[in-house]
C-alpha cells in the first residue's frame, strides 16, 4: 500500500521536454525528497504523480495499479501546492476540513483531526480567518494542514516550508517526520533546503533538467556523489572544484573538496591564497579565497574567525576527503 | 436643383408599385420635383411618425390613417389644412369624412382608397362540392356544413390569435347586416343605441357559430397562417378584406371568387363595410410645401385614381370619377357597392377616441367570443361599459 513506481515518465510542454524519462521506485512508507535546481521539473513530476498533469509517455503505478490515466481523486493522494492553492472562500478550518467532509468522515473526527493539525502547525488563532487575511507563512501552513488531515497513503509536498521562519521550520519539519512515523505513509517531498533534505529523507532524488542524476540516502549523496552535478548541488556552500592538472594529479580531471574540509592557516600550508571575502554566520565563518594554483576556493570554518579580506593565508586540505571526477564528470570510485 | 418630396407611409408592400408606376408617372409630368417613397413597418408607423413629427424630422407627405389618428395630427397642427386644395372637389363628403373634422368643415388629407369586406372562396372547391354562393345566413352555414362533412377542406380559414382577424374579418364583416350599416353606426355614436342592444350582440352570436368550422387550433392560428391555409388550397372560405386580392392572385393556384356577407334572411337589404383606409396629407412643417401640394393635387386627380386602383387591386379609389379596373376579383368586390349599402367600420369614428379604445376592445372581445371565453351578451356588456367610462354621447345628456 502506498508504493509508487514511475516508469520512464516523459512530459512535453509543446515541444519542450520537461521530464526526460524518469524511472523511480518508491517503497511503501518511504520518505523520498526531490531536489534539483529551479526549473528542473520537480513540481511537474509531482503534479504528474498527482494526476494534475497528463504525462506524454511512460506510466505511473501507485500500489501496483497503473494510474497513468486515473483522475487525481482516484489516486489516494494529498498534495501541498507550491502556490498553496487555498480555497479563497473558506475559512482556515473549512479549508482543512473540506476533503474529509467530502469523504463522509464523521463531524467529530473532522473536528478532532483539524484541531490536531492546527495545533501542530500553530494555526489555532486563525481557524476562523480566510486565506486573504493570513500572512504568507500562515497560508503555507494551512496548505500543509489541508494535506495532513486527510492522512492518505501518499503525500506530495511541494516546498512546503519555504515561507516559514527557521524556528517554525524546524518545528514543522519535526512534525512532518513524526507524522511520517505515525502514519507510515509514503511521502514525496520537494525542497530547496539542504537541511530539510538531509534530515527528512530516507532517500534523496537529485534531478537535473528533467532527468534523475542520482538516488541515494543523504549521506551517500554527500559522501559519494555520483558526478560533478550532484557533488556541486548537495552541500552548501558548494564543493570546491579544482582542476587536477594544475596541482599535478594524474588519472582524473577534477578534484572536489568540500569547504568544510578546507583548512586555513596564516603561517603554513600547501597553497598560498588571498582572502577575497568573509561571511560571518555566527556559528561558522565562510571564507572566499583566490589562489593562483587552485583558483576560487571556499572554506567553511567552524565558529568565528577574525579573517579579513586581502589577508594572505595558506590553504590545505586532506586528500582523504577529496572527491575525484573523470573527464565526463563522473566520480572515480576508489 | 430639384426639390425632393418624401412620403411617409406604412404600406411597405406597395413600394414597388410606387417606385415603378406612380412616381415615374408623376415625375414625368412635373420635372423639377423628385418623390421618394419611404415606408415604415405598419406596426411601427404611428409611433415613429408621431416622434418624427414632434421632433420635426418627418417627411413632407404623410400617409393618413382614417379618422382619429389623423384628426389628432391635424389638431396638433402637424397636418396642413387642405380644404382648398385643387382636386378635393373630386371627392364626395362621405369619401372625405374619414379625413375631415367632425363638423366636416376642414379636410386635411386627400383620400386614396377604401377597402371592402366580404368572403373570398375557393371556386374549385365550391365546384367540386357543388356548392353555390350562399346568399343568406342559412345557406352560408349549410355550405359550411357541406364542406366540413366532406373533409377535404377546412371550411373557413380564420384564427383568433391576432384578434384583429376576428374583429375585422368577422365582426365588422358581417355586423353591418345586423346593425343596418350607417343607420346603426350613427345611432351608436349619438347614444341612441347601445352595444348591448340585440343589433350589436347578434353578430357575436353569429360568430360563435363559426367556431366549429375553423381549423384545428384556430386559437393559435395567425393571420399569415390563415392566408397560407387558404392560398395553399387547404381552406375553402376566407373571411376577407379586399386588400388581399393582389397577394392571393399571386399565390393561389386555383380559381377564386368572392361573395358579400350573407344577409340574415332572404330579401333583407344587404350592407357591406366599405372602409376608407388610406389618404395622404401634408406635413405642415414641410420645407417643400409648394411641391408637396402639387403632388397632392395630382393624387386627387382621376389619373392617379386609375393608376392606383389598377396597380393595387383591392384598394378602391374614392374618387368620384369612375375608375376602370381590370382585376375580376376586384371588380366583383366593387360591384357590391350598388346593391349593398356601404358603411364604415363601426368603431372607427369618434368611438375610439378615448381609453379604453372601442376598436381594440372589440378585437379582444371578438376573439374571446369565438374562443368561448366570453358569451356574446357579456362581450356586449363589457364593450358598452368601457365605452360609457369615457364617452358621453349627445343623446344621453
Amino acid at each position: 500500500m502506498g508504493n509508487l513506481h514511475l516508469a520512464s515518465v516523459r512530459k512535453f510542454y509543446g515541444t519542450h521536454e520537461v521530464l526526460k524519462g524518469v524511472d523511480l521506485k518508491v517503497d511503501d512508507g518511504e520518505f523520498v525528497v526531490f531536489v534539483g535546481p529551479s526549473g528542473c521539473g520537480k513540481s511537474t513530476l509531482l503534479r504528474a504523480i498527482a494526476g494534475l498533469e497528463d504525462i506524454s509517455q511512460g506510466s505511473i503505478l501507485i500500489d501496483n495499479a497503473d494510474v497513468s490515466h486515473a483522475p487525481p481523486a482516484k489516486r489516494g493522494i494529498a498534495m501541498v501546492f507550491q502556490s498553496y492553492a487555498l480555497y479563497p472562500h473558506l475559512s482556515v478550518r473549512d479549508n482543512m476540513g473540506l476533503g474529509l467532509k467530502q469523504a463522509g468522515t464523521p463531524k467529530a473526527e473532522i473536528d478532532q483531526r483539524v484541531s490536531h493539525a492546527s495545533s501542530m502547525l500553530s494555526l489555532e488563532p486563525y481557524l476562523a480567518r480566510r486565506p486573504t487575511e493570513l500572512s504568507g507563512g500562515q497560508r503555507q501552513r494551512v496548505a500543509i494542514g489541508r494535506a495532513v488531515v486527510r492522512e492518505p497513503k501518499l503525500f506530495l509536498f511541494d516546498e512546503p516550508l519555504s515561507n516559514l521562519d527557521a524556528a517554525l521550520r524546524v518545528q514543522t519539519r519535526l512534525e512532518i517526520a513524526k507524522l511520517h512515523r505515525r502514519l507510515k505513509a509514503t511521502m514525496i517531498y520537494v525542497t530547496h533546503d539542504q537541511v530539510e533534505a538531509m534530515t527528512l529523507a530516507d532517500r534523496i532524488v537529485v534531478l537535473s533538467a528533467g532527468k534523475i542524476e542520482q538516488v541515494g540516502s543523504p549521506m551517500e549523496l554527500y559522501n559519494k556523489p555520483a558526478n560533478l552535478f550532484v557533488a556541486g548541488f548537495i552541500g552548501s556552500p558548494q564543493m570546491n572544484f579544482i582542476e587536477a592538472g594544475r596541482i599535478g594529479m594524474q588519472g582524473l580531471k577534477t578534484l572536489g573538496i568540500r569547504p568544510e574540509h578546507v583548512t586555513l592557516s596564516r603561517v603554513e600550508g600547501a597553497w598560498p591564497a588571498i582572502i577575497v571575502y568573509v561571511e560571518h554566520l555566527g556559528a561558522d565563518t565562510i571564507v572566499y579565497l583566490e589562489s593562483e594554483t587552485l583558483g576560487h576556493v571556499t572554506a567553511r570554518l567552524f565558529g568565528e574567525h577574525a579573517y579579513a579580506p586581502n589577508e594572505r593565508v595558506f590553504v590545505s586540505f586532506p586528500e582523504s576527503h577529496a572527491h575525484r571526477f573523470d573527464n565526463d564528470g563522473n566520480a572515480i570510485r576508489r | 436643383a430639384d426639390a425632393t418630396v418624401t412620403i411617409e407611409s406604412w404600406r411597405q408592400d406597395d413600394i414597388q408599385v410606387w417606385q415603378e408606376k406612380i412616381i415615374p408617372a408623376f415625375e414625368a409630368k412635373h420635372p423639377g420635383i423628385k418623390v421618394v417613397f419611404a415606408p415604415t413597418a405598419q406596426t411601427e408607423y404611428n409611433a415613429s411618425l408621431n416622434a418624427k413629427l414632434d421632433a420635426g424630422s418627418a417627411g413632407d407627405i404623410i400617409t393618413c390613417r382614417p379618422f382619429d389618428a389623423s384628426l389628432e395630427l391635424f389638431k396638433k397642427k402637424q397636418l396642413a389644412d387642405l380644404t382648398d386644395l385643387k382636386g378635393l372637389e373630386n371627392f364626395t363628403p362621405v369619401a372625405k369624412a374619414a379625413w375631415s373634422t367632425d363638423d366636416g368643415k376642414s379636410t386635411f388629407c386627400v383620400p386614396m382608397a377604401s377597402v371592402i369586406h366580404g368572403f373570398i372562396y375557393n371556386k374549385d372547391a365550391f365546384d367540386k362540392l357543388g356548392i353555390s354562393i350562399p346568399k343568406t345566413e342559412d345557406e352560408f352555414f349549410a355550405a359550411l356544413d357541406k364542406i366540413k362533412s366532406d373533409g377535404t377542406y377546412i371550411p373557413m380559414a380564420m384564427g383568433t390569435k391576432e384578434m384583429w382577424e376576428a374583429a375585422t374579418m368577422g365582426y365588422q364583416n358581417i355586423g353591418p347586416n345586423y346593425w343596418k350599416g350607417e343607420e346603426g353606426r350613427a345611432a351608436l355614436i349619438s347614444g341612441k343605441q347601445k352595444l348591448t342592444d340585440a343589433d350589436w350582440v347578434k353578430p357575436y352570436e353569429e360568430l360563435v357559430k363559426w367556431k366549429p368550422y375553423l381549423g384545428d387550433g384556430f386559437e393559435a392560428q395567425t393571420y399569415s397562417d390563415s392566408q397560407n391555409l387558404f392560398t395553399l388550397g387547404r381552406a375553402a372560405i376566407y373571411p376577407a378584406g379586399s386588400w388581399e386580392i393582389a397577394l392571393f392572385n399571386s399565390q393561389a393556384q386555383f380559381k377564386m371568387g368572392a361573395f358579400p356577407p350573407p344577409v340574415p334572411k332572404a330579401g333583407d337589404q344587404g350592407y357591406i363595410s366599405d372602409h376608407p383606409d388610406i389618404a395622404v396629407g401634408l406635413n405642415s412643417k414641410s420645407p417643400h410645401a409648394a411641391e408637396a401640394k402639387t403632388f397632392l393635387e395630382w393624387v386627387a386627380s382621376p389619373e392617379f385614381a386609375s393608376i392606383y386602383a389598377n396597380a393595387l387591386p383591392g384598394f378602391f379609389s374614392l374618387n368620384s370619377s369612375p375608375v376602370k379596373m381590370s382585376d375580376p376579383l376586384a371588380r366583383e368586390f366593387v360591384s357590391w357597392r350598388g346593391p349593398y349599402k356601404s358603411t364604415v367600420r363601426s368603431t372607427y369614428q369618434i368611438l375610439s377616441r378615448g381609453t379604453p379604445n372601442l376598436e381594440n376592445e372589440t378585437w379582444v372581445e371578438s376573439a374571446n367570443v369565438i374562443n368561448g371565453t366570453d358569451t356574446p351578451a357579456v362581450a356586449g356588456e363589457k364593450l358598452q361599459k368601457g365605452l360609457d367610462s369615457w364617452y358621453k354621447p349627445a343623446a344621453a345628456k
Partner: protein, 279 residues
Amino acid sequence: MSKARTSHFRTGFVHLALISYTIIALFPVFLTVINSFKDRASIFRSPMAPPNPSSFSLIGYDTVLAQGNFGLYFYNSGVVTVASIFFVLLFGAMAAFALSEYRFRGNWLIGLYMAIGIMIPIRLSTVAILQGMVATGLVNTKTALILVYTAQGIPLAIFILSEFMRTVSDDLKNAGRIDGLSEYAIFFRLVLPLVRPAMATVAVFTMIPIWNDLWFPLILAPSEATKTVTLGSQIFIGQFVTNWNAVLAALSLAILPIVTLYVIFSRQLIRGITAGAVK
C-alpha cells in the same frame, strides 16, 4: 493522448447533456434555414423535411437580394455596431474601473445613477432624443445611432464589468503602482487585459440589441444611405406579408453576420490568463 483528469463516464455525460441542449437551441434555427431553401408549398406540406431536388428553391433569396442595397445595409450595420461596442466597452470599462477601484464620496450614488439606464427603456425618450439630433443636425447619420447605442449600452457594461474588475488581484495592481504605472496605465495595461472574458461577454450582450434594433434606425437614420440590415430586411416581416420564402430567407441571412460577429468576440473568451499572477 491521455486524459488523466476526467473519467470517460463523466465526459460522456457532459457531452450528452450539452448535445441535448444544443439540439433544443438549434432546432428552430435549423428549421428556419432548411425551409428557406424550399418552395412555398413544401414549406407548408412537410416543414421538417430537408430540401430535396423537387422542393429546392432559391426564390426566397432571390426576392430578398433583389430588394434594396443589402451590401450597403450590412456595411452600415457593421459600422454602427462595431463603433458602438467600441465606445461602450471603452467608456463603460473606464467608469466601471473608477467605481470598483476607488472609494470616494458618492461612489454608490454614481453607481446607482449609472444603473438607471437599464431600468427604463430608452425608447420612451425617442422624441427628446430625436429633437436633440435634429437640433445638432445628426439626423440620418450613423453618428446619431452610435451615440444612442453607446448611451444605451453603458449602464449594462458598467454593471457587469465593475463586478468582474473587483476580482482582479490588488497585489497585481499594486505591483503596477510600484512599478510607477499611472492609474491610466494600470487600467489599460493591467486591468483591461485581465477582464477580457468579461469584456467579450459585454461586447456580445451589447451587440445583440444594437444589431437587431429596428426602432432607432427607423427614427434617427431611415435614409437609404444610413439604413441598417434590420431596417432593410424588415420589409419582409411586416404584418401583411405571407411571403414565407422571403421571410425565412431574410431571417437566415440576418443570422449570418451576427453569428460571425459573435464568433469574433467570443474568441476573446479564451482563458484570461490569471493563474500565476498571485502565488
